[in-house]
Assembly symmetry: C2
Homo-oligomer: 193 residues x 2
DNA sequence: AGATAACTTACGAACGTTCGTTAATCAGAG
DNA sequence: CTCTGATTAACGAACGTTCGTAAGTTATCT
């Protein structure tokens, strides 16, 4: 499918240069066609962008849901640390997560409304899922007793900081060091004494 | 000074629309002049951007250095939590921190080198400063004994996640809740039991 | 003080280029 | 023949930048 090639190229340039900085000529050239030909597949730049955005969001959401549904054991230490590693892996496999991160925090001004809808959707779902996990773990006495919303929000904080580090990353060693440090302190902060 | 008005307007549009999305016409219009007149003050768009960037970095660096040098007491709990509040205050006072955050993580591609130099500079200085603080606190037995680099990196992680939340922020209540949660877990993770 | 020179700031006009988009045309496949 | 997808051509609009110029300010010298 040629549309997928276009979306792949668009993802790349949107990620590097942002919405305004990415030009349809570049994207078209990447897939070996003229920019006017893109209009056979998409209604325009906005349409292309929103489809790429939706795809990126869906794959990210799916990856996270799959990770949590494939957990057999109830071992918060492994499960949570594994989730952080999942984020790192996703970042290095596809460009989609980096694109998603950039656009969810710095969306093109005239599409902020549409972007926000996607952001809110994925956030509510993952947060509800994780908070439920924490609720169980706390009830089972595996974690420090407190309202599950607290470790949930704190963990998303760790995830966010790791993603930011992944964006900036020049060096894998530095990333791993920061991940270990954040995880160590976080785990000590939620585990039972 | 008219140059300052221009830089102020430029900061605003760079923050909202990014480098590529901000146009000199808009910036000029904001200060009540034509875009050609900007060239009496700056050599071009890149020059304007880099000056705004440098100013933003300097004020942020200065704010952080001042905060740490004005600490009289050796009370990590107050000092660290106060630093988080400082970040929140800086974000709501000036636009500069939001601009800085956006550009340090998603710089215009052709200026990445120049931006990186500023980022590395501010990061090295603040990190060295904070790590020294942690070293002292740990030596005084006020914090959990470990290599000071660990709580330093973890704390910067908390700071980053708070800043991301400030960028996204639609709601002050949500921000405060996330800040409290991250702080609670972080503090429990580094304090002595 | 008054005249002159130099510098600063702003403007209109125009430059060449690129942008996203539309329309007409054409090749190839079912 | 029809339909899908790609092309060429062309569009108005906006981009950053340069030029020449005019007005205002400052500095220098007699």
């Amino acid at each position: 499918m040629k549309s997928d090639d276009i979306k792949e190229a668009a993802l790349k340039y949107f990620t590097i240069h942002g919405y305004e900085g990415a030009s349809l000529s570049q994207i078209a050239e990447e897939v070996g066609m003229k920019k006017q030909s893109l209009y056979a597949h998409f209604r325009g730049k906005d349409d292309l962008f929103l489809q790429v955005l939706h795809d990126a969001k869906e794959t990210e959401l799916l990856s996270k849901l799959q990770y949590f549904s494939n957990l057999r054991s109830s071992q918060p230490e492994e499960d949570l640390y594994g989730f952080l590693q999942l984020i790192v892996d996703l970042f290095q496999q596809n460009e989609q997560l980096k694109f998603w991160l950039r656009m969810s925090f710095f969306p093109p001004a005239h599409l902020q409304k549409e972007v926000d809808l996607e952001v809110i959707d994925i956030e509510e779902k993952t947060q509800a899922l994780l908070q439920e996990k924490f609720r169980k773990w706390i009830n089972e006495g595996l974690l420090h007793a407190e309202h599950p919303r607290i470790p949930t929000l704190a963990f998303f904080g760790v995830v966010d900081s790791i993603m930011l580090e992944l964006v900036y990353m020049s060096d894998t060693k530095r990333l791993q060091e920061k991940l270990e440090a954040s995880w160590k302190v976080f785990w000590r902060g939620i585990s039972i004494r």
